[in-house]
Structures are given as structure tokens and as C-alpha cells.
């Protein structure tokens, strides 16, 4: 019944010589400037092109409000990984191509004057893959959210784990999950925005653990990569498979928000979750703290994260 299509998660559209590309939605030819001006949305059909992390930060934060945190983290090469090229070589190229220090940027920002901790992933940095730096940056962002009690918003875009960090990249799923669990104890509101594409280890950890999961229209979301599934089932995937709209129907995503409404919608939801926290939990904590003489749930979770933040780490090497 359903038309079979091959899913191309890079979804670039064709590039022409002057840098213009044809829209995968309507085949119109679009210049890079035209796209950038329009938040990387096709003005003809509304197709959402991928955004870089910097574009995303610009889209979501008030002017001049962005303060990057954990900016000095850089990937190491713990496995001395060498496939067709050494890992540091690939990192260097990605840095050069994207102007970024890693596949996720983290910082604080204001969204319509509301303080938030904001993280944005960038698919163009090694496919948005999660290695140690992405995991640690996520941890620091969660830590910042817990300490400041600002909500955390993470814009996801990822091809999965950073294979070049081997098992350590896999373990970032466990690490980021622990960070989410700590935020939950406060609780700090946590929202993820799943953009095209969000797959693999990112989808199977923090991306799907948020209080509210938003997706961009037509974002491809899948734990297993489409090619692996096609190899397994030995046929092309049905049309619409893995798209955000399908995930809403299947109960995995709360809502789809078009990019131009995203900031407003985020502020609205965060305000509502905070409204709950501000009005209802505060007296509860105080009551509990008073009664137990132990400082209440908030104080305990706060103590815990502080303790972790300063827990002994092995001495720096290298």
C-alpha cells in the first residue's frame, strides 16, 4: 500500500555550482542567502532544512543573551582510533568545516527574557555524533540547570554515537541519562527538540527522556539507522517511516512545532511547567524541609549534584 522510499537522512537536496540547492520538498532552486534569511525553511513549500548549532542559538535566544559554557572542552583520542584516517584528523576537519568546537554547544541564554540553559547539536560536525565532549557538555548543562534552576532546552540532531571513541561514546548514553535523572529530582523542566535527523544513541538517551518532547516537521527519528533496517527487512522502508508525524501517531512525541513558532512555544511550555513548580512545589519543599529538618528534596538533590560536580577526578593527563 504505502509507497516505498529510500530514506536519506542527510537530506541535503542537490547542490549546484553556485551553492544553490534544490529543495527536497518542492524541487525549487534556493540560494544559501535566501535559505538563511528564512531560518532555513523553504519559502515555497515550508520544508525545514537542517540548521547549524549557531543558527539554532540565534533562532532561539534573545540578542546578545548567549553565554557559552563548557566551551573549552575538546575531544581527546583515548582509543588512538585509526580507520581510513586518524580520529584527530577527522575532528580537525570538522572544526575547520563548521567553525565549531564540537557537535554540541551549551550555554545560558534568555528566551523572551526567560532564563534558560540551552544546548544545540550540529549534524554537520561529524554527523552530530555523541562522544565524550557531547556527554560532558550535556552533564555541565544539566548541572547549570540544577544550580541556577533555569530550565534546560536541548535541540537534538545526531547520527548516533561517535564510533571513534568506541565504548566511551556508548557510555555517554548512561552518563547523560544520569544527568536527566538528577534534574528530575529538583525538578528542573527539561525539553528536547528533535530535529532532522535524531537517531541512535542520542534518541535512546536524553532526547527521549525529556518532560516534553517536541519535534520539527518531517524530522527523521529512529534508533536504528534506515539503511540497517532496510538491510534487515530486505526491502525499502515505507513512505513516512520514522518521520516526526508518524512518531506522534505512535505516541512517542508530544507535539510538532514548525520552526518559526518554536521559540514562542518553548517559552509558553516552560512558563507553564515553571508555573507549576513556582506555585505548588515551593511550599511543599519548605514544609518538608521544616518537618524533617533535613533541608527537603530540593536541598538534597542540590547537595548531591554539588558533591558530584566536585567529586575527585583522576589527575589530568596529556
Amino acid at each position: 500500500m504505502a509507497r516505498k522510499v529510500s530514506v536519506d537522512i542527510s537530506r541535503r537536496g542537490g547542490n549546484t555550482q553556485n551553492g544553490a540547492q534544490s529543495c527536497p520538498g518542492c524541487k525549487e532552486l534556493l540560494s544559501p542567502e535566501e535559505l538563511r534569511r528564512n531560518s532555513m525553511i523553504c519559502p515555497h513549500c515550508g520544508h525545514h532544512f537542517r540548521m547549524t548549532a549557531r543558527q539554532r542559538i540565534e533562532l532561539l535566544s534573545d540578542p546578545d543573551s548567549w553565554n557559552e559554557i563548557a566551551a573549552n572542552l575538546r575531544s581527546a583520542d583515548p582509543l588512538e582510533f585509526f580507520d581510513l584516517r586518524p580520529y584527530p584528523d577527522r575532528i580537525e576537519e570538522a572544526e575547520y568545516d563548521t567553525g565549531l568546537s564540537e557537535a554540541m554547544l551549551t550555554g545560558t541564554a534568555k528566551m523572551n527574557k526567560m532564563d534558560v540553559v540551552l544546548a544545540a547539536m550540529d549534524f554537520s560536525f561529524m554527523g552530530g555524533s555523541m562522544g565524550s565532549v557531547v556527554g560532558e557538555r550535556f552533564w555541565r548543562a544539566a548541572e547549570e540547570a540544577i544550580e541556577t534552576r533555569f530550565p534546560l532546552v536541548v535541540v537534538c540532531a545526531s547520527g548516533g554515537a561517535r564510533m571513534q571513541e568506541g565504548i566511551l561514546s556508548l557510555l555517554q548514553m548512561a552518563k547523560t541519562t544520569c544527568a536527566v535523572e538528577l534534574m528530575g529530582e529538583i525538578p528542573v523542566p527539561f525539553i528536547t527538540v528533535l530535529t532532522h535527523p535524531t537517531t541512535g544513541g542520542v534518541l535512546a538517551s536524553f532526547a527521549t527522556l525529556a518532560d516534553v518532547i517536541i519535534a520539527e516537521p518531517a524530522a527523521f527519528l529512529s534508533f536504528t539507522g534506515p539503511r540497517i533496517i532496510e538491510q534487515t527487512i530486505k526491502e525499502k522502508l515505507p513512505e513516512g517511516f520514522g518521520l516526526a508525524e508518524s512518531h506522534v501517531r505512535h505516541g512517542q512525541v508530544d507535539l510538532i512545532v514548525p520552526r518559526l513558532e518554536l521559540k514562542e512555544r518553548l517559552v509558553q511550555i516552560l512558563g507553564m511547567l515553571e508555573g507549576g513548580v513556582a506555585c505548588a512545589l515551593q511550599p511543599l519543599w519548605e514544609e518538608e524541609a521544616r518537618r524533617s529538618g533535613r533541608g527537603g528534596a530540593f536541598a538534597q538533590a542540590f547537595d548531591r549534584i554539588k558533591a558530584l560536580a566536585h567529586s575527585p577526578r583522576r589527575p589530568p593527563q596529556g
Binding site: P78, E165, M173
Partner: protein, 300 residues
Amino acid sequence: MPTLPGVHLKDEIAKISQRLKELGHGRHLDRAVWDKVELARHPKRPYTLDYIEHMFAGFIELRGDRCYGDDPAIVGGLAAYQGRTLMVIGHQKGRDIASRTERNFGMPRPEGYRKAQRLMLLADKFGIPVLTLIDTPGAHPGIAAEERGQGGAIATTLMCMAKLSVPTVAVIIGEGGSGGALALALSDRVMMLENSVYSVITPEACASILWKDAGEAQLAAQTLRMSSDDLSQLEVVDEVLPEPRGGAHRDHVAAAKVIKDALEEKLRELETISPRLRKKERFEKFRRMGVWKENGLTLF
């Protein structure tokens, strides 16, 4: 990264890469690593239900996620253990063609992970420690599994393990394949049998993606550092458990004894700690995972 006029960095990088590639291919291929991959996948290797049979006086399998189905690729239940109780949950492969199909080669679907969560929460309610046995090529890749939320099912299982207030011990007994394996391994103590492997991706898939050649699986396995020795060096596992001579498949009973003894020791350690501190230490353990440079220094 600053660019200098006249220097085309990308070209330079490409040239260097080519040179390094030639060097890389000349690397010594350590046959021992691939031997371990093959032992980890050995068709006669003991599986979760074999260990349960040899380790415990009694076992009651509990089935179902109370929502959609019962996934035979993950088994779990209550085990009688030295006059007390353990919740044991593990991936389960089949031995013959019929049971391999039934068990889906040990590749769980979302309902398998949700069953695991249900059993963990049951254990937590009654203060029963959780032992997980890990042996899967990975989570099932399929359309329906994705539609039922394979990603979310793994994530919430990790979250569930992070929350538990009972002691948790994981043992990688065969293939520790990707997120499908990790989902059951966010534990206070993570151990590995000598000839098991644990990796972010199968060597075959890694080779075909990075080397563009599935035939380079042996090289990929070595490069990924997926053997127990490697993982011990990387401090991802707390202990490597020696197998009977020739591998666990040679003597299921002896292999079970190794795990049982190690389990006993770990539980003794863990039960002297308060639940609150145990959870704190669990978080610290996984918080430390990863290696990165900060202000130019490499941090673990």
C-alpha cells in the same frame, strides 16, 4: 580555526590522511581479539537461562511488559539465592533454529526493555538486588520496533536503572552490543567474562561504515577495543572474570561458579553501603565515563 592565506587546509588534510591510511593498513592484526569475538558468539556458549540454571536453586520466570507483549529476547524473574532473593534479567539467545527465531537472536524489541523495567521496579519495591546478564548483538532493527519506541524504551530502561535504590550488578556474558546491551548495564558494578565483548557497534557494521569494507571487521574489532582487557584498561568494567580453560562453552557449570562467586563478593560490598550513597556512587561512576581535553589537558 584560523586559516592562513594560500594554505588550503582541506587539501593538506586529505594528503596527510592518505599517508596515514597507508600506514594504518599496515598495522599488526592481533588475532587474539578476533578469537574473543568468535568465542563471545560461540554457539555453545552459556546463555542467560543456562547461568540461571547453574547458579540458583530456584527461578520463577515473570513475563510481559503489562502493555504490549512478552519479548522472549529478554528473560527475567525471581531467583533463590543463598536463602534470599535476586531479580535476574538478561538477554536470551536461542540454541537451535526454532529457538533462535523465537528469541530473535537475542535482539530485544521495546516490550523486552519495558519488561525489564517492570521487573526492576518490582525488585526495588521489595528490596531485591538486580543482576543483569548481557548478551545481545543489539536491539532489534525493525519498523514496528521503531514505531513502538525502541529509542525511548532503551532510554527509559537506562533511567530506571539510574533510579534504583537496590544494589545492581551487571555481567557481560557474551556479546555486549551497543545501546541494546547498555540498557541493562547501568549498574553499581559492571563485570565482564574474559571472552565477552562490549562495543558501541558490531565490528562488521563499523568496518562497512568506516573502512567501507565489511571484510575489515577484524581490524575494526581491534580498533574499537572491544575485548575485556581493553575495557578493563578503559575502566569501563570493574572486573574481568576468568573463564574455564578454552572458554565458557567448555564448562557451563564452572563458568556459572565464576559469576556466582564474583556476584557474591560485589553484593557484599554493595550492601554495606546505604542506598543513598550507593546511588550517589553509581552516578559518580557514570559521570566519569569519557575522556576529553579541557583547557588543553586530557581529562578522564
